[in-house]
């Protein structure tokens, strides 16, 4: 039962200010989101990227810091403009971008940024030429950094989407929880009222016909009015009530909560913020352009191995030293990022101390790159940790919500069934009886007409009764009836333990639903499957993942044949869908088994 998912998901997401995203969650799937071009990506990347560029350029080409900062800022504006334009182009009409198009946009933007910086550096005199090779290698460093930040932001947004979903579900659940009984009673009353209103004109016509007939002593108009009421109104209406109905989803109509905030864990183990292998690998990718630009191939390889290996070792040591130390999320993140920066600085220093050739003037940039990667790692860790808890929470809330909706749908089915029973049974019976009495009578007197009116009114009042079908809607009565009717003809074994029976007695709807399921299954087995024996077992289940959702487990086995149209899957399934939380019907050898779970509540 997944009716609660009927709410239009993209609509709901837009109303929460969330970006369109791909419905998958693979490694790179988070990049398949408009979040890859969102302002948090730019806000995180711009300061870090600017700092790395300024330190790298100044150490390579000299010049004033102010000039490089100014040029870097203008270049960053170019990058932002291209990314914003890319978003408009790629994500127009709420299209979800592909990973390739995101990476291509990043490459174009960072290349433009790098070339702009080169051009500006010649204009402001910071550099005597554009240094094309240096500029073209820029994106090799920038794109991985941008991608890492975007990955983190997209992960965060995906999580926020989950949290928004959770909050919507929670709001619906709260609304339903608070008013379930009232809503169920109103539903019942509205259905009953609608049926009465629908019958009213025809009943008035019948009343007029009875009056006229008793006044003139002619029975025929009254008989015609009775037939018309029966055939034109009551039968179609009872069919309509008892037939397939589009299931309404009251939960879907609940208001969507305002923009949601992602609650991150309050505390975390500091060691969990360190992933030395991942950092070393990302660092290797990010350090390649500087290495191949400044060093000979063999020295590049040696430098990359030593720098990345050193960073790995230092981070692994830090993680070991931290052990199980915990910290609040805010200061903890700052500490972890700082420690990454320090680890990068130490590793870079160790490379120099070991006499290995390394690019000059990038010590600060190298340290910042490691810190940036560390920020991405710890951010991802926090979001992932919270996401697992959110998903578990969401599953619980959604389960309870589904159960509440199931209960409402079940009540609707039971009420329409009762109303149809009254229409098709009592009311139709009273009309038949009236017709026979009119024909039997020598004269249709005013007294007889009044009696008939009274009979029909009495039949109609059954619509207001909680159990118009009497005790036959009780499971215990149903089992006794089946056993007594089939005794000596077919074998019926029924098991209903006292505890389950006691639970059913205080849960009217569940009792009636179980009764209906048993009746349908036994009817099906005997009438359509020609079964010779049926075994019925009803037990209350205790251990449920969704509180308070205890259920009644219904198991019905029969040895009937699998042939016959009514034994095929599909027929009867609509009723089972509406009355049961879940159900299966399967054949194993000569045994047909129906297993159904009916919610208790």
């Amino acid at each position: 039962m997944t009716t609660v998912e009927k709410a239009s998901r993209p609509e709901a997401e837009r109303s929460d200010g969330l970006e369109p995203t791909a419905p998958t969650s693979g490694k790179l799937a988070p990049l398949r989101s408009a979040s890859a071009f969102s302002w948090p990506v730019l806000a995180l990347y711009c300061p870090a990227g600017l700092a790395i560029q300024v330190s790298g350029n100044q150490s390579n080409f000299g010049g004033s810091s102010v000039a490089w900062v100014a040029a870097g800022a203008i270049a960053m504006v170019v990058l932002c403009a291209i990314l914003v334009g890319s978003r408009r182009l790629i994500c127009r009409g709420n299209r979800v971008p592909g990973v390739g198009s995101v990476l291509l946009a990043y490459s174009v933007a960072t290349l433009a940024q790098s070339l702009t910086l080169g051009l500006l550096s010649t204009l402001n005199g910071a550099s005597d030429e554009i240094h094309l090779a240096f500029r073209l290698s820029g994106p090799l460093l920038q794109v991985p950094l941008l991608t890492a930040i975007a990955y983190l932001v997209c992960r965060h947004d995906a999580h926020r989407r989950k949290v928004a979903e959770l909050e919507r579900s929670r709001a619906r659940l709260l609304a339903i929880d608070q008013s379930l009984e009232v809503a169920l009673d109103r539903l019942e009353s509205e259905l009953s009222g609608a049926v009465r209103s629908s019958l009213e004109p025809a009943l008035r016509e019948l009343d007029v016909a009875l009056t006229e007939a008793s006044r003139h002593g002619e029975a025929q108009p009254a008989l015609e009015a009775l037939a018309s009421l029966l055939e034109d109104r009551i039968r179609p209406l009872s069919h309509e009530l008892a037939g397939d109905q589009p299931a309404s989803d009251p939960a879907a109509e609940q208001a969507v909560p305002p923009r949601t905030r992602v609650p991150l864990p309050k505390r975390f183990h500091l060691a969990d913020g360190f992933r030395p292998t991942l950092v070393a690998l990302v660092l290797a990718v990010a350090a390649i352009p500087t290495a191949i630009r400044d060093l000979a191939p063999l020295h590049s390889l040696l430098y990359l191995s030593a720098f990345c290996g050193g960073t790995f070792v230092v981070l692994a040591l830090v993680r070991k030293v931290l052990g199980t130390a915990e910290a609040r999320s805010g200061p903890g993140v700052v500490a972890v990022v700082a420690l990454h920066g320090v680890a990068g600085r130490i590793a870079f220093a160790l490379v120099g101390a070991a006499g290995i050739q390394r690019p000059e003037g990038i010590a600060l940039a190298a340290s910042m790159v490691v810190a940036l990667i560390g920020a991405a790692v710890v951010g991802d860790m926090l979001v992932s940790a919270r996401r697992a808890a959110t998903e578990a929470d969401l599953a619980t809330v959604t389960g309870r919500l589904e159960q509440a909706v199931t209960l409402m749908r079940r009540r609707q089915r039971l009420v329409t069934r009762r109303l149809a029973f009254v229409l098709h049974g009592s009311l139709q019976g009273s009309l038949h009886a009236a017709a026979i009495r009119i024909r039997q009578a020598d004269d249709l007197t005013a007294r007889l007409a009044n009696e008939l009116r009274g009979d029909i009114t009495a039949a109609l009042t059954q619509m207001d009764q909680r159990r118009p079908m009497g005790e036959s809607s009780r499971t215990r009565t149903t089992l006794d009836e089946i056993a007594s009717v089939w005794e000596g003809v077919r074998t019926v074994t029924a098991r209903l333990d006292p505890r389950t029976e006691a639970l059913l007695e205080v849960n009217d709807d569940t009792d009636e639903a179980v009764s209906v399921v048993v009746q349908e299954a036994v009817n099906n087995a005997f009438r359509h499957g020609s079964a010779s024996s049926v075994r019925i077992e009803l037990t209350a289940t205790d251990e449920q993942s969704i509180a308070p959702g205890r259920e009644i487990s219904v198991v019905i086995e029969d040895d009937g044949s699998a042939t016959g149209v009514d034994r095929r899957p599909g027929l009867g399934s609509a009723l089972l869908d509406e009355l049961c939380d879940s159900w299966t019907r399967e054949r194993d050898g000569g045994t047909m088994t129906l297993r159904a779970q009916v919610a208790l509540g």
Partner: protein
Amino acid sequence: MPNAKPAAGEHRGFARSILVVEDEPLLRDLIAGSLEARGFAVSSASSPSEAVREFREVDPDGVVMDIDLGPGPNGFDLAERFTSSGTGVAIVFLTNLPDPRFAGRTADQVPRGVAYLRKEAVEEIEVLIEAVDSTLRGAVEDRMRHDRDPDRPLGSLTRRQVEILRLVALGKTNVQIAELRGTTVKAVERTVARALTAIGIDGELGGNRRVDAARHFIRMSGAPLPLPDGSGSGS
């Protein structure tokens, strides 16, 4: 109740006992009153389990019963129970259903020697009294088998056509019907077209004709509630 008729319920001075099984109280009282007025000893039951209990206690000569007795066992189920012990009980079905197919049974599943009366065709209570009397004597006449009347509502339909029209009345599409029955849509369309011709609605089953067919079926069948397995409730 008029009481001037001959005492059909008495045989050589002894009242013959009849069990009336009808879940609708007005009809039950009317039938029971009419039978008592004709000299029968009448007991009555409103549900299958009550009927079994009364049957055990009274051991009636005959049973007048409805077929639709609510959502549980129906009149055919009870008849199977009552006749299984070889008691030779006489049975008169008094029902809304044109024939047994509307209760998921075939014609040959109706016990031998029973009378089958449609409520709408019983214009006078005398028809019922006569059927009870004939059944008790083991002399059921063809006119007391309304389920065999060629002019009965929807009588020209095959069981398969009845089933498919029932699904049409439930609002199922041809595709859904084909899925439920494990046949092709073409086969459903052919069966539906033949059923339409049989009930006097010409042409393909689409739009208004589909509605017409559903309406006709509901009006004519007197069928029990269109519950998914074909069983029903009500009188």
